[in-house]
């Protein structure tokens, strides 16, 4: 039999789309609200500040990982601390991916139930996503990436439409007072918002999948900047439009902004079309999370075929998403626990391992 091994490699643009489509799901559920509630009118300043910090971190990351071309975080932690560390790191990230997608799914579906399916239990809406992802998981890794690459431009168009359609409702003076809740709140407490760049975590595992590993730096920088721009656009829309986000909450902030769009008297009330696009994009996000978790799991235990395990992670996500008793408790989870988890695992754990591995490499190099 002539068989040519299927290439699992990701191209540069696909990789950028991958990290961006993860941000989309954050943004459409609750992220902008958290941003605005914490830093008030200084949100835009805060986003620029945070983007700069993340850019700095990611440049450091690129520098650190340069010593290990083509290796991902798992290989590096194996190099640093053997199988044990590799498994610990892998489990941490799997836990992080599964928990984050579970909670995100719950929040998104709660929003959907409120808006369109008042008499349906949220469990069925979640189940609908889960069944769809089960179908998608049967397909290859690349299919999800390609889908994300098709859907993301649509999402981008929807967000730009949201921004332009609401231009008439904007008052740009809402960025004042410049510092919002004060310097401390904006720049020190505001550091918590770094979790918004959660999509960057996926970059740790990308190097071994890239078509051209030397482009990692380019990918990383482009993803960070475009993520920043994307969040900026969304938050700016909300901030300029509403005065009430500072004092009140809405369940899906971008959705409520979409409700205001009007182009003449005929094109009104088409927020459900926005939701349609975001649903597809959210599905992509879930599938990506699932596949990354499986990829890590397979790498930890050196399995060759990822398909049988995929659905186990899916069931885990389902379990986590129906775990919180109501919206309040899932929201509590997200704001008070999960955000710190995101920072702890996504940024601190990953970077620490990279730094230590670099030190070790230097030592080994010195000995030789």
């Amino acid at each position: 039999m002539r068989k040519i091994e299927k290439s699992k490699k990701i191209g540069t643009i696909s990789a950028v789309m991958l990290t961006l489509s993860i941000v989309v799901s954050y943004v459409t559920s609750s992220l902008p609200r958290a941003f605005i509630n914490e830093t008030k009118s200084a949100t835009l300043l805060n986003i620029i500040y945070i983007t700069a910090i993340v850019l700095f971190i990611i440049l450091l990351f690129c520098r650190l990982i340069q010593k290990f071309p083509g290796l991902d975080l798992l290989d590096i932690s194996y190099f640093l601390g053997g199988n044990l560390l590799k498994n610990i790191v892998g489990s941490c990230f799997i836990f992080y991916f599964v928990v984050s997608s579970g909670l995100m799914l719950r929040n998104f579906c709660e929003g959907l139930v409120v808006v369109y399916y008042p008499l349906t239990s949220y469990i069925f809406v979640i189940l609908m996503f889960i069944v769809a992802i089960a179908f998608v998981n049967k397909l290859g890794f690349n299919s999800t990436l390609n889908t994300a690459a098709i859907v993301f431009p649509l999402v981008l168009i929807s967000i730009i439409l949201l921004f332009c359609g609401n231009l008439g409702n904007f008052s740009f003076r809402r960025i004042y007072p410049v510092l919002g809740d004060g310097f401390y709140n904006t720049f020190i407490l505001g550091l918590k918002n770094i979790g918004a760049f959660g999509g960057i975590c996926y970059l740790y595992f990308i190097p071994s999948m890239l078509k051209d590993p030397s482009k990692l730096k380019k990918i990383a920088v482009i993803s960070v900047i475009s993520t920043g721009l994307f969040i900026f656009l969304c938050v700016a829309t909300l901030l300029f439009m509403f005065s009430f986000f500072i004092n009140a909450d809405e369940i899906m902030p971008l959705f409520s902004a979409a409700r205001y769009i009007e182009f003449g008297s005929f094109f009104q009330r088409f927020e459900s079309v926005f939701l349609l696009i975001w649903i597809i994009s959210f599905g992509c996000y879930l599938s990506i999370s699932c596949k990354f978790s499986t990829h890590i799991f397979n790498k930890m235990f050196k399995l060759s075929d990822m398909k049988p395990i995929l659905n186990i992670f899916l069931i885990l996500i389902f379990a986590i998403s129906i775990f919180p008793k109501n919206y309040a408790s899932s929201n509590f989870f997200e704001i008070h626990i999960y955000r710190y988890l995101r920072i702890a695992i996504g940024f601190i754990l990953g970077m620490t391992i990279l730094i230590l591995a670099n030190l070790k490499k230097k030592k080994v190099g010195d000995k030789n």
Binding site: S14, Y116, L139, T147, V273, I280, G283, C284
Partner: protein, 565 residues
């Protein structure tokens, strides 16, 4: 024990058995730098030795694998002497009767003409001076002799370059080489069957050739030859079917098409264990990759110019004896929304039409589903006036919307199928009768609402706007899935359905080429074309085909307008 088996069957790990073939990014022997390096090669002169000539022809025409190129070696009689000779022609393009009677017979048969040694006429003048006879002797020229005396043909030309000979052969002439002669004869005995070739019926274009494939494979290959007019076109014969032994021809440009692709096509066709093969449609299903959506994975065309266009792009064309269609491999999704007419139009219009077709595909797939979900879940999206006209129209309709739309969709499918079966004079009227009369009657009887008739009609029209028959089939069937999803959960259902649908499409491959290109991974965009570029900009062959020659025209193709450099 049985339960154990069931559990085992459900949870047991079965290794992934899918067959994968992926085209490499860069072909093994590629030549991407220059546009045309053949021009620089000097035209090869014809050799005097017939065996050397034969070898040269063999390499040029790939005689060993090319099925329709015929080289006939024989012994030529001239002036009582015998010479080795070689006749080269393309089967299907020459008139065999003329070839036999008026080329081969006078040359091979011993008759007065070629037995006559001409000694009598050799001496033109003779003068005897001092007992020395000085004879002015006519120098014997074999080539002229053959041309003048042996071949009773009206159009014959001597040439010493292979290029001229080949272009003649490609055009349907026959070439004669004779041992010891450094020239060849280009004999015009063109005789392809032109009367039997009909106009294409399904792919009608306005600005383009009006020729269609016929059932005879030899005629079809000659059509391809005529359009290509190049010796690099290889037509290989394969036989499929234990009983029928149907002849299939695999056609490709040997200096353009990716050899892995060609090998894969031949590999798949050679490894078919079936009794019979009667049509292209069967072959398409037999050789295309796994396909859960029923999407076509090969373009079938009845237009030779379209087939040749694709061959020159670096694709492979498969012909089956007995089918007036050619199969073009590989094909990606956008190919089915492209009409052969597109290339003849200015790019603005072509792109406009392409946009319309994409929109039509979208409507055809989703419009009824969106209607169901909007009226069941997302009423706020309707403009208020439209809402009230829908409400007014639905006032007397007794059925729920889902039932109403299913009735209409299914009856439209029945009408469409019926109009195919009915003999053609009535066939055209049944569409009108079915569409208008039934629709109008249903509305006035209060069974369906007029708005719904509009929706169903737009959907049906949209599916006719799709150029490819089997692609529009796919849309027609999957439309019902989206109606159902829209009915279950509105836009959530449709969104989820689209997610799965898009993912499956992105997962599909046709002969190692990703089916969703170029709209998915937005890389290597060289001339794949989300939009069709203007004709002077079509410099590259589609990069996903990994052709041996990437460029198909120069940077500046219109030299008359811009000087190069």
């Amino acid at each position: 024990m049985k339960i154990k088996n069931i559990i085992n069957n459900v949870f047991k790990y079965t290794p992934n058995k899918t067959y994968n073939f992926t085209l490499p990014d860069i072909p093994r022997d590629s030549d991407n730098n220059s546009y045309n390096n053949e021009k620089s090669n000097k035209s090869q002169k014809i050799y005097t030795s017939i065996s050397v000539n034969l070898d040269y022809i063999k390499t040029k025409y790939n005689l060993l694998i090319n099925s329709d190129i015929i080289s006939r070696e024989f012994i030529l009689n001239a002036k009582g002497k015998q010479y080795k000779a070689l006749l080269l022609h393309i089967d299907g393009m020459v008139d065999s009767q003329i070839l036999n009677d008026f080329v081969l017979e006078p040359l091979m048969m011993r008759n007065k003409n070629n037995l006559f040694d001409g000694e009598q006429n050799r001496v033109i003048s003779e003068a005897i001076t001092n007992n020395i006879t000085v004879r002015k002797v006519k120098k014997f020229n074999l080539a002229d002799y053959i041309e003048n005396c042996l071949i009773p043909q009206n159009n014959i030309k001597q040439t010493d370059s292979f290029d001229e000979i080949f272009s003649g052969v490609n055009a349907g002439n026959c070439a004669l080489f004779v041992d010891t002669l450094g020239i060849g004869f280009d004999i015009d005995i063109k005789g392809f069957k032109q009367r039997s070739i009909d106009k294409p019926e399904n792919e009608v274009v306005i600005k383009g050739a009006h020729e269609a494939f016929v059932e005879n494979i030899r005629t079809n290959t000659s059509l391809l030859r005529r359009f290509t007019n190049n010796e690099n076109l290889v037509i290989e014969n394969l036989e499929v079917g234990d009983i029928t032994k149907t002849k299939c021809a695999v056609c490709y440009m040997q200096n353009i098409a990716n050899s892995d692709l060609v090998a894969e096509v031949k590999y798949r066709i050679n490894n078919l264990d079936i009794d019979s093969l009667l049509s292209v449609g069967q072959l398409e299903q037999l050789i295309s990759d796994n396909n859960s959506l029923g999407l076509p994975k090969a373009i079938s065309t009845e237009r030779p110019d379209n087939a040749v266009q694709h061959i020159l792009e670096g694709r492979v064309v498969v012909l089956v004896n007995g089918s007036p269609f050619a199969l073009i491999l590989p094909a990606i999704m956008i190919d089915f929304l492209t009409s052969p007419e597109d290339r003849n139009l200015k790019s603005i219009f072509a792109n406009f039409l392409r946009g319309i077709r994409i929109l039509a595909a979208f409507f055809s797939l989703l419009l009824p589903g969106i209607y169901v979900s909007v009226t069941s879940f997302h009423i706020e999206i309707l403009p208020t006036e439209l809402l009230y006209s829908i409400l007014a129209a639905r006032e007397s309709v007794p059925f729920p919307i889902i039932f109403e739309i299913l009735i209409m969709e299914i009856s439209f499918e029945i009408i469409r199928e019926a109009s195919l079966r009915v003999p053609s004079p009535i066939g055209s009227t049944i569409g009108i009768v079915g569409g208008l009369v039934v629709g109008q009657a249903a509305v006035s009887a209060g069974i369906v609402s007029p708005i719904l008739i509009i929706i169903v009609a737009i959907t049906a029209l949209s599916s006719f706007a799709i150029p490819d028959y089997s692609f529009s089939f796919h849309l027609r069937v999957f439309r019902f899935l989206f109606i159902f999803l829209g009915y279950i959960a509105g836009f959530l259902g449709i969104g989820i359905g689209l997610l799965v649908y898009l993912s499956i499409i992105c997962d599909m491959e046709s002969f190692g080429v990703s089916y969703s290109l170029p709209y998915s991974s937005m890389e290597n965009l060289k001339n794949i074309g989300i939009l069709l570029p203007p004709i002077w900009k079509r410099e590259f062959r589609a990069s996903y085909l990994a052709t041996k020659k990437n460029r198909k025209q120069d940077d500046i193709s219109m030299h008359w307008k811009f000087n190069k450099g």
